[in-house]
Symmetry: C2
Subunit: 497 residues, 2 copies
């Protein structure tokens, strides 16, 4: 076994180097790389992917992972045990999906985002439909290759992004959301007639001062810039492959300054999670967070539960007024608080508030499920989309650009991924509840002591990196299995006011 592990480690050492540069190339491309460099860059990425694929598809590598997996019981170290399980999971794709199909799929994906962008630009789903259909077909094939006795159909995809997730579990989750939230949203949005000071949306908030405020936020939240970086990109994101280098980006829109604030806080939620795992996981498959859902739970907790709380703004609104004295003149903290917590029906997921967000995800979940059950054809997606939006969100898009074409995810081949966004919010509520049993979260926020919250999360979630499954983590941190009612209760309490 020792010899086999050494073989495994020497492969892992090489794989890590390629993952590292893959990460850096992506970071660079999304932040500062000049557009004109795209072609040459993609040619280099192609070579490097080939080199990496040579390693991960090396029969010696596949064999050693298989053998270690078959002898898992002889490995005592639980971390190493889990790592081998994950390596095995990953190697299944290389092993079971024919190389030719896999490569052709990559070629399709490389073309699809440009086609999607064109379709969205022209508001014409028929431009996107043929390539989307190919992507779905490929995913259907992959499902067939990868499915097991326990895991079939769409569940195969769900499980990739959220280990342990199945259609059955998600159905249960979304059923509760449907039952509880749809009528509640109707109630809340009916009452909501507050007229906000137009300065909030019409004034210009210069980049320079917005930058100063995001810098200020990094200090308030304890996002460690000696092991991170705050950059800028079109779509904010967090990225890193070791806890000592976790970078985030934000966006600066001069007439939508809260976009910067909440993007920064959201991404810091992801980043603090990744910065706080045990450093021993760096260079292993247990680096980073547990699942997409758990990761999203952290970003949403920081963004919504902390960052949109009244306690938070009571303390920090004066700083914002100091930076924007003219723009915010006459707007008090109560109005600002209400402004950043408006609940209203919107067409776009990215415009959705905390209350209605999961209903947008529900639409996507049901469409994906139908696609993989075979009860929906790609060309019929727009119609279904409009119908479900009307039913769940209560608003019907007139244009597909505001409907089925709004998100890039499917063009990237991401099926089974959207549901983790909703699940993350629900995890967040349960974790927040458990944290509140042990520390006074509101008082920590009021006393500018978010580090106390970070410490609790480190102790109960972050330190573990990917060494536990989502289920284990939730149980460990909250002392009970996942329960969607914390989420429902949280939303009803907050938006019931």
């Amino acid at each position: 076994m020792q010899k086999k592990l050494e073989v495994y480690f020497s492969f892992r050492r090489r794989i890590n180097a390629y993952r590292y540069i893959e990460w850096l190339l992506e970071w660079d491309q999304a932040t500062i790389a000049p557009k004109a460099s795209a072609k040459y860059r993609s040619e280099q990425i192609e070579v490097l992917s080939e080199e990496l694929h040579k390693i991960t598809s090396d029969p010696k590598y596949i064999k050693v992972v298989d053998e270690l997996y078959e002898n898992l019981e002889t490995i005592e170290d639980t971390d190493l045990k889990r790592e081998i399980k994950i390596a095995y999971r990953k190697s299944q794709v290389v092993k079971k999906v024919p190389k030719k199909e896999y490569i052709h799929y990559q070629v399709i994906l490389a073309q699809s985002t440009a086609i999607w962008a064109e379709a969205k630009e022209k508001d014409d789903f028929s431009i996107f439909a043929p390539i989307l259909d190919e992507i779905v077909q490929y995913n259907r094939k992959f499902v067939k290759y990868l499915q097991t006795e326990e895991l079939k159909g769409y569940s195969v995809l769900l499980d990739i992004y959220e280990e342990g997730a199945t259609v059955q579990k998600y159905d249960e989750f979304f059923d509760t959301i449907k039952e509880e939230l749809i009528p509640f949203v109707a109630q809340v949005t009916k009452k909501n007639k507050f007229k906000f000071n137009k300065k909030l949306t019409k004034n210009v908030y210069p980049r320079h001062e917005q930058k100063q405020f995001s810098k200020y936020l990094t200090e308030v939240f304890g996002y460690d810039l000696s092991r991170g970086y705050l950059g800028e990109s079109l779509h904010p994101f967090t990225s890193g492959v070791i806890s000592d280098d976790v970078r985030i980006t934000t966006e600066y829109e001069e007439n939508n300054f809260t976009a910067n604030i909440f993007s920064t806080i959201h991404e810091m939620g992801h980043a603090i999670y990744d910065q706080q795992h045990d450093p021993k996981y760096n260079g292993t498959l247990l680096q980073g967070g547990s699942s997409y859902g758990i990761h999203e739970s952290q970003s949403r907790m920081y963004e919504n539960m902390i960052g949109r709380s009244f306690s938070f703004w009571q303390l920090h609104y004066p700083k914002l007024m100091e930076l924007f004295p003219k723009q915010l003149k006459g707007i008090d903290v109560v109005e600002f608080y209400k402004f950043i917590n408006q609940a209203k029906r919107s067409l776009r997921r990215t415009d959705a508030d905390e209350l209605t967000y999961s209903l947008h995800i529900l639409v996507r979940y049901e469409i994906e499920k139908m696609l993989f059950e075979g009860s929906l054809k790609v060309r019929d997606i727009p119609k279904k989309w409009r119908q479900l939006m009307q039913m769940y969100v209560g608003k019907r898009p007139l244009k597909d650009a505001d409907g089925a074409l709004q998100d890039i995810h499917w063009a990237n081949g991401l099926f089974g991924y959207f549901p983790t966004y909703a699940l993350g919010s629900a995890y967040a509520a349960q974790i927040y509840h458990a944290m509140n049993e042990e520390i006074n979260v509101d008082s920590a926020i009021e006393n500018n002591n978010i580090r106390l919250i970070n410490a609790w999360l480190k102790e109960n979630i972050h330190q573990y990196g990917n060494s536990k499954t989502p289920e284990e983590l939730i149980l460990n941190a909250t002392k009970e299995p996942f329960n969607v009612h914390y989420y429902i209760d949280y939303l009803k309490r907050k938006f019931g006011d």
Copy 2:
């Protein structure tokens, strides 16, 4: 031959990808990478260097390059011919230097900059001496491995950075400089008693406005940001491996605002050169510029001849005053022009002005020459340094931190590199003279039409990338061989006033 070329191209394709990520890793490290990531990063770089070395030392690669080189006369395309020559030159190092020694040398280099930094910090040359001695020993060995009938000793190193350069040629060059400049500097610095307004050095010039001015400069000079990027780093530099992605950095010191201005212009000189070569050279060994000297000629021409000219500031000083109205109040363009063109004896190369700069290089050249002739021992460098500084620059450092320890270059193993800095300035003067015969450079500057200068340089220098040797390029652009007297004349004219 066709088959051999195909083999060569397929190797080149892979090598390019590794060079690309090497470039990106260096860029990232020098600009935004958090310090804490250094260890993990260097481990990944180690793996990637191994992977690249596997390719460049592959006997199949060495063999195909040898065979192509031996059959050069059968290749008709002159660009391809030159590329094979360059590939052959490069492969000599891998072929002739024993792998063990090469790798050990890399390990030493990886440690040496930290040791150098400590020595400089503590002003103690004896800390740096042992590892510097090892570096010199290795370079002496490499010289032995690489020398040929025509090229021996220190000339082997000179030729690496400036193709065609030899001790004999540099001796001639520096002899003229000694003869002509040393007495001239004595004359100029004696007269120089102008007292500048203290605001120029004592006022605070905020980063934000400095950034706006560098942005303004990119437009004035026509540095194409759609194929570049203006970043920030401790030591400004230019970097890129294709003409569509040539990035520069600058520095912002709040009480030394001209550092930003002239760094930005200097690096744009490098960058515009790299942006303007024929795009067909991307992905080949003819990409980028011809030699270090030619490259430096461009950066110094933009920085000194254009950027420090009176015509330039007559036009752009109002913009500077607009950004710094309080700081520059009462300082007119004549005073500012004199301020940025002061000639004075300084201890540090990086503080040196246009007039005395080459004398600083002369000190380094003579020391390197003695080291490789064997007439100087590493431990005796500081003494020799003080002596030569007194003789040539007329100023003697009291501390080695201001003397032999000031530059990082030797810690990086760069011997034979410094002289290109002086040669570059001399090339610049000759090229500038030739350009002036064909276009009215001053009027282009006065009319905010630096694009005309860019166009001339593109036509006569830049477009060729590395497809011509420095000698060919100078002859092509100026219609005569290199002549140091243009440089002497230029300096005497400018500083004679």
